[in-house]
Amino acid sequence: MALLRVEDLHKRYGHEEVLKGVSLTLAAGETKVVIGPSGTGKSTLLRCINRLTEPDRGRVWLGDLEVTARRADLNKIRAQIGFVFQDFNLFTHLTALDNVRLGLLKVRGMGRREATERAMAELERVGLKAKASAYPAQLSGGQQQRVSIARALAMDPKLMLFDEPTSALDPELIGEVLAVMIQLAKEGMTMIVVTHEMGFARSVADEIVFMEGGVIVEQGPPEVLFRSPKVPRTGEFLRKISELYGEAG
């Protein structure tokens, strides 16, 4: 059974229909990279999956749990879906350790000691154990994003959603974040990543999903999409994005 099933999602903001019926499935351990021009609903798609944004129509299942069910326990579901934001959104008033520990203490109800141990382990995993007592403002962008990944991982998510995790970073800081994500993918984490990093997409993605104008234009394994896209528009976009961002990463 698929770990994530998205069926016919629609979302409209005023006159603009951002999602016009998006469907997608994800098997456990699979990594999908979503690409496409900006404003084509990629972020909205991610936010509809854990209902940070309420979809107008369509359904989402996490395993056999319907996320879009009227009576779904959203807080419980969200705790199982890690979300990494473009601009990190670390809690400004909390240290790196407390950022990672908060969900464990307040959502999972874990004891303080256990939560601290777990949080430290996650910080170590992203290479920031030494920065445990630093506040977000004292960390570089790359470090902040790694803490935010640790914050999501600490909750033992079944699924990780990355919303352009490197777009807000200076070029020299992108690598450290991508390295963490590549490691995660290798360890078998199920993830959806919205990104322009083609090098990452090529080396890590099981499938690339090309979205434009609120719909999925084409999806398939990277080697297929890069070499022989079925839709000319896909090839055009891939060429342009590769020129813009290069293939580093």
Binding site: N75, A79, Q80, N89, L102, Y135, M155
Partner: protein, 225 residues
């Protein structure tokens, strides 16, 4: 004014301080009440559904718009008409406390609105309830950002406590009147002394708030309020 006058004033100092203690009691009471209601009103204004938010806005609008002395009279003389009997002290704490809550609500509201929406979103994404997110994420940040505005409110309501005499609370200004009534010649020095006492209190209070601000300061959280 010669030294003899100040010696006389000095002999009245304990009495003035006793009066000042009443002002401090009033101050603590009204600040605490104002804080509790102010936080709730601000949260309702920012987060509650329309009708509740509107109610909170109407509340702050009313208490910001009516002069203190009128509020004092309404609470002390008006409430007995509907069967609520309050001591002058309690009426003063309530009237001035409600008024302060309206101003404090404005301070907290501004601070709440200055917290980036991403903070709430990240908290919800972790699985925190809306209330949990407010309690653990938004409020701790907003309250820190409010301290500067709050210290203004402190100075302002400290002076407002002298209005409580209007309904018969014997505070420091009234004590000064007692002294003056039995000795006209002390009028000026007594008021100078009262002014000095208030300056000291204001300074001490603002100093304490400043210390709290420093202790609670977190890199990256200043300046936005």
């Amino acid at each position: 004014m010669d030294l003899g006058v100040w010696a006389q004033v000095g002999s009245y100092l304990p009495v003035l301080l006793q009066g000042l203690l009443v002002n401090v009691e009033l101050l603590l009471g009204l600040l605490a009440l104002g804080f509790a209601i102010g936080v709730v009103a601000a949260l309702l204004e920012v987060y509650a559904p329309r009708p509740l938010g509107f109610l909170a806005s109407a509340y702050t609008w009313f208490f910001r718009g009516v002069p203190e002395i009128v509020l004092l009279f309404l609470f002390y003389f008006g409430l007995p008409q509907i069967g609520l009997r309050l001591s002058a002290f309690l009426a003063a704490v309530l009237a001035l406390g409600f008024r302060s809550s309206a101003y404090q609500a404005q301070i907290f509201r501004g601070a709440l609105l200055s917290i980036p929406t991403g903070q709430m979103m990240a908290a919800r994404a972790l699985g925190l309830s809306r209330l949990g997110a407010i309690r653990h994420i938004v409020l701790p940040q907003a309250l820190r950002l409010s301290l500067a505005g709050w210290s203004n409110e402190f100075s302002s309501v400290l002076k407002d406590t002298t209005l409580a005499w209007g309904i018969g609370v014997v505070e420091v200004m009234r004590q000064a009147t007692y002294i003056r009534a039995r000795n006209f010649t002390l009028t000026l020095p007594i008021y100078l002394t009262v002014a000095f006492l208030f300056l000291v209190l204001t300074y001490a209070g603002n100093f304490a708030i400043g210390m709290a601000e420093k202790r609670l300061r977190i890199p990256g959280l200043e300046g936005r309020g």
